[in-house]
Symmetry: C2
Subunit: 193 residues, 2 copies
């Protein structure tokens, strides 16, 4: 029991990993723990529109664990491409340590979910990635492009970087977003290209 | 699609519902969104120790939605007994409105999960309640009794109020906590009885 308690207390640290997006109406940045909660519910709401039939429970499981590696590395915006290999290695080391506190059953289960998300090959993992990519866009669209403006992210960069994974996991969501992103561009909510 | 987007943006408000417990090492109170994420993972880690065999995916689903009614009511400490009926009615009205934004499939699914948790009858719901009750205790035990001291909660009150539901859902966890709570009492981490 103590090892499971140590595990859950170490997870507490994800509440202090801040992202670049602000929750609507709040004067702070969101953290990776509350983000993980929200995209799990986004996935459960959109599963019927996944590109291929998915086991939604596995998608939810992946989304709940996918950011735990950030406990050591912090969150990095999807538009930052430098240092990716080092970051991925550090995240793997982090989850190996943290999941390693657990008994065999839950350890193997969490590790498999985390790895499936990283590999991004199964329909479940591709749908999960679409959810993870789409959520900050949805918040920005409701937030006058707050994190795009603050970080100088252009419309073209958003479309190039997040279009393909969202299209691959949830085409109906991408059709919706593509149009909204055009509208946001007309509003001047992006950084310069 | 727009109705699902409206739903997920309304959920954003749970990130501003604050609880009485502080995340470890942080100078703020935790919110109900990150709390929901954490107890979903606590459940997935402890499911093998549930009082009766449980479908862990349904437990996780319940825990992800169980606090959504607080978007209208705010969080209330488990030790506050006044106004319970009114609060429960307001929470029901809240989730009926918010889940009501969704298409039939996800709406019915979320509503059923929320209601199953409220009814607290199935093994899954009883285990889910045990997780929800245990998490603030685990944080307090790692936090020198922060929310007990701040709110004048006695050892006796904790044991009386949270002992039965944790025992009913996860007896092994209660055995562990009972001993730790005695230790915390010796440390003086509670309010006066």
């Amino acid at each position: 029991m103590q090892s499971i308690v140590d595990f859950i207390l170490e997870l507490d640290r994800l509440k202090s990993v801040t992202r670049k997006t602000r929750p609507l109406g709040l004067d702070r940045y969101e953290n990776s723990a509350e983000h993980s909660w929200q995209i799990a519910l986004l996935a459960a709401s959109l599963a019927h529109l996944a590109e291929a039939p998915v086991d939604v429970d596995r998608v939810v499981g992946m989304l709940l664990v996918h950011d735990i590696g950030e406990i050591d590395t912090g969150d990095t915006m999807v538009y930052v491409e430098e240092g990716l290999a080092e970051r991925k290695a550090a995240e793997l080391a982090c989850v190996t340590r943290i999941f390693g506190r657990l008994p065999d059953g839950p350890r193997a289960k969490f590790m498999a979910l985390w790895q499936e998300f990283e590999d991004a090959v199964t329909p479940e993992a591709r749908f999960a990635h679409a959810m993870d990519r789409a959520m900050p866009v949805l918040l920005n669209l409701a937030n006058d492009g707050q994190s795009w403006r603050e970080n100088g992210i252009s419309h073209e960069k958003v479309v190039r970087r997040i279009g393909p994974p969202i299209q691959a996991g949830c085409p109906a969501l991408w059709s919706y977003l593509e149009e909204k992103l055009e509208e946001a561009k007309r509003q001047g909510w992006f950084g310069a290209a």
